[in-house]
Symmetry: C2
Subunit: 361 residues, 2 copies
């Protein structure tokens, strides 16, 4: 009961202004403002002020504070979808780090669509932000020098090479693709499927193959990982077969479709690399339905096994999503303090679990 009462009184909508407090406690607003910002005031004044604050439950308005040019303590976050363990985990990391700094996070989801993303960004621009963490859906080519963008501190997360001069926080996707492919090869599996996932405006099959060889002006994580896949194949002199590559989305259904597509295309596939768990689940379900045994007939490696919550059955490339969120906030805060910030590439590791096994003939 006491607890609830406290909560309630704390969160009341604005009633008293700094002027009211000044009047009630007999000091000037200037003195109060200084007091709130950590400066010391005369002893007997402090006592009086404290008592009045207690009684009124006064809270400063950050709207007014922000208007005066100081910071709002609010950072923005644009994310494709909150209902996805990958982004939820990053968001959790962001919020934890933000809380440590007394910051809040204003969220918007782009719902995996470029159009919605535009709307949300537009909406954000009318809001009170010290900075923005942006997990893009958009496909953006030929990015020019952006002089128009130097005012709002910005960090790009989970993608690399999107906007020059802006810090990007991402995983070493190429290494992930390389490690997973190499491991499957070492298990004796030379027919390795690669299921690339995209949000909006997916790469075409051809584009993907194209991007894997020549340096692109931007990248998606699927493309990075695909590069590693190609690299490993080359290293072991395994001919690349385009029929082993599927481009799809990020849903459970995408996995089902991808599996069907693979099964329909050719006769033998004994290894497979999938971008995320939802797709992998759909994929596995469909393969099982067609009589494949996992891991014997078909070994699977996925990215981001969503550590703490899952059944721990997928062999996976482990990502560090909480850390990714934390680093994003740290970078953003550096930027906001005028310090230079650079890209951060987080390492990945192969974690062998239940969905991979040596190929027996």
């Amino acid at each position: 009961m006491l607890y609830i009462l406290q909560v309630m009184s704390i969160i009341e909508k604005h009633t008293h202004s700094i002027k009211d407090i000044a009047r009630l406690s007999g000091v000037s607003t200037a003195t109060l403002s200084r007091y709130f910002n950590g400066q010391s005031i005369r002893k007997n004044n402090e006592e009086k002020v404290k008592r009045v604050l207690e009684e009124t439950g006064y809270r400063p308005s950050i709207a007014a504070r922000f208007m005066k040019g100081s910071s709002s303590g609010v950072i923005g976050l644009i994310v494709p979808e909150m209902n996805h363990p990958f982004f939820a985990m990053i968001a959790e990391g962001i919020m934890q780090e933000a809380r440590k700094n007394g910051q809040l996070v204003l969220c918007g989801t782009s719902e995996g669509s470029v159009e919605v993303e535009r709307q949300v960004i537009n909406r954000f621009s009318q809001s009170i932000l010290d900075g923005l963490i942006y997990i893009p859906v958009a496909k953006a080519e030929n990015i020019p020098a952006l002089e128009s963008f130097r005012n709002l501190p910005l960090v790009i997360t989970a993608r690399r090479n999107i906007i020059p001069g802006v810090p990007h926080i991402y995983h070493d996707g190429e290494k992930g693709g390389y490690l997973s492919t190499k491991y499957l090869i070492q298990l004796g599996r030379l027919r390795i499927g690669f299921i690339a996932s995209f949000w909006d405006a997916p790469c075409s099959h051809e584009e993907l193959l194209d991007f894997a060889t020549k340096p692109a002006s931007y990248t998606f994580s699927s493309i990075e990982r695909f590069r590693g896949y190609i690299k490993a194949l080359n290293e072991f002199d395994i001919p690349f077969d385009p029929d082993l590559v599927v481009v799809t989305g990020y849903e459970h259904k995408s996995g089902v479709d991808a599996a069907s597509s693979l099964i329909g295309r050719f006769s033998s596939c004994n290894g497979i690399i999938v971008m995320t768990q939802a797709v992998a689940n759909g994929c596995a379900a469909q393969f099982k339905r067609q009589g494949y045994k996992i891991p014997e007939d078909l070994s699977m490696i996925i990215f981001d096994a969503n550590e703490s919550k899952a059944d721990y059955t997928f062999t996976s490339i482990e990502l560090h999503l909480l850390k990714m969120g934390e680093e994003s906030v740290k970078e953003l805060n550096m930027l906001m303090q005028g310090e230079p910030a650079e890209d951060i590439c987080l390492d990945v590791e192969l974690c062998v679990r239940d969905t991979t096994a040596i190929l027996r003939l």
Copy 2:
């Protein structure tokens, strides 16, 4: 490229004020303000204004706007943990609905702790909110009439009976508990374990048993569901065995511990009801390790199988989490418009899948 440029120019930090626009276009600020708010102005003025707006990329500051008393278009959300499919899904629903209304969501996580929750609420109070959606962790007894709380529109989500006079959006937990228990009984399984999960300050084993019988002044979802469990047992004249009940947390590890605990306590358990997937995974893993076969030896039913992303293997009580989020925002907006809002109880359904089977002796 064009896309990125647009984004950038839109989100630039404030440069022009309404006064600048007034000066540049030769009209007064009042005229501009009216124009922005939909009133018509003289034709030739409108053209001039439009051109200036185009050139400057002017955006009104909602900080100033909100200071004047109008709404900020921002709703608050306090959630125990974003990195949990249950809450992530609710949050997604909230954000989708918010976006439809041009609103943004200010998020804070309580990290499953009452203390952190207090901090976050405290931080929220310094912010600009039109209303608040609150998913509580706190255990709150004997809630009094809260006169101090009539200013900030508030909705409680995923819990019921927390604060009188405030609308609650929740699932029919008792029905869920009842349906799952009844189904297991009908499969011939009369030894049904119930694994209750709590965030912070968990109920003691005794408290839980207590709350199940007498009407409590507040409730947790685990308690609601437990009531349904008891109800079904009574209906089939099955004696209640306290040893079949475990109180634990919401993590994977909680499930492992709960399973160990159950196994250690007694000899026979052929059915089990679990609150959430992470716990169920841990639980299933531990039971399997001990030689139990699922669903033959042990049938499992869980709540919230996290529909779109999962492997669809658990028999479950399906919740409507996206809808829960949407309804929360709708209720909150009604409240903000001064309309009365009432509790919403969302229905649940039993979804039979792979983790339940008839008991064969």
